[in-house]
């Protein structure tokens, strides 16, 4: 079972589940909003498998989500960025060898790559699960899905199944676009089912290896099935990034 720890960020404290006590550390980035729920079990299963391989996995909650205090509507891009920077610093403080590797799911994939871009050589690699790059389309579909789910009942246009987005965060996420240059670290992009034409195009631009899995869109489900292949591939890719980091430092 993970140890529950806290670290400071943006005048508050964030909750982190720390799995294992290994020298090498991976940091997990949850998706925003309701998709978080569908990833929780997958993250726990992946963290448990990494622990069995002798590593440490850090799974943290952004301000106002999960077990971290705060009101989600007050979350803005500056707080989110500080949350991520502090999570990187906290994870590096646990790492005794090599760099840090990242795992990001959906919008967490965008956030993980943003962290990789800002923290440069400290990041040895990243695995992304069906990352979201077009923030505007993601938000549009998120709210449409919420409306469809609720059969068009009285609807707050900022409310996605209980996640009330602040105006600033909405604008910030809306500005996310497909990346246009190669990423600073090796990236493995794992798809659920067949990769879209857009995914193939973007993966080529950023230099990510695109790996198709038989996983279903677990981020849409509240009680998703086990996705053994996805988790096994993720752990293998993270392992290879640690290996690359060791070669580089050795």
């Amino acid at each position: 079972m993970p140890e529950q720890l806290r670290f400071a960020s943006a005048g508050s404290s964030l909750s982190a589940s720390v799995w294992g006590t290994g020298n090498q550390v991976s940091l997990f980035f949850y998706p925003l909003a309701e998709e978080r729920k569908g990833c929780a079990r997958k993250f726990a299963e992946t963290a448990a498998q990494l622990t069995r391989r002798g590593w440490t996995a850090v799974v943290f909650d952004y301000f106002g989500t999960g077990d971290s205090p705060g009101d989600f509507p007050a979350l803005d891009s500056a707080i989110l960025r500080d949350n991520i920077d502090q999570a990187v610093a906290f994870s590096l403080s646990l790492a005794k060898t090599g760099g840090l590797v990242l795992l990001g799911a959906r919008t967490g994939g965008w956030l993980a790559l943003d962290a990789a871009a800002r923290h440069g050589e400290k990041i040895a690699g990243a695995v992304l699960w069906e990352p979201v790059f077009d923030g505007g389309k993601w938000l549009k579909d998120l709210f449409r899905r919420s409306k469809f789910r609720n059969c068009g009942a009285a609807f707050n246009p900022r409310d996605a199944d209980g996640y009330l987005f602040g105006e600033e965060l909405l604008a910030a996420v809306s500005s996310w676009r497909e990346p246009e240059e190669k990423l600073p670290c090796p990236v493995a992009w794992l798809t659920a089912g067949r990769a879209s034409a857009q995914a193939e195009k973007t993966a080529k631009v950023i230099g990510a290896s695109l790996i198709q899995t038989s996983a279903q869109p677990f981020w849409l489900e509240s009680d998703p099935r086990t996705e053994e292949e996805l988790i096994e591939l993720t752990c293998n890719e993270l392992s290879s990034f640690f290996g690359l980091a060791r070669e580089k430092s050795g």
Binding site: D141, R145, F148, R149, C151, G193, P217, E221
Partner: protein, 86 residues
């Protein structure tokens, strides 16, 4: 772009199977089979299928069109998509 209604319905069946991860052949889905009743598809997954339709056919459904009855059968979906492609 599908040339006739049979071809359109065939492509819609393929998208349904692909986006909903159904373990059946596309042709097994009857024109009036309810996706929610016959295959236990919930509204969240059904919406994901709608997004798949939009991407595949290059169309966009208005919020007012996003009702379960418009997307619960191949026949209803085909009518909705055909109207967009006209």
């Amino acid at each position: 772009m599908p040339e006739d209604s049979e071809e359109l319905a065939g492509r819609i069946r393929e998208i349904i199977v692909e986006r909903l991860f159904l373990e059946i052949e596309p042709d097994d889905i009857g024109e009036d089979d309810s996706l929610t009743d016959a295959y236990g598809v919930d509204s969240v997954r059904l919406f994901d299928m709608i997004v798949g339709l939009e991407e595949d056919f290059g169309v966009s459904f208005e919020d007012e069109e996003l009702k379960l009855k418009n997307f619960d059968t191949v026949g209803a979906i085909a009518a909705r998509v055909a109207a967009k492609l006209e």
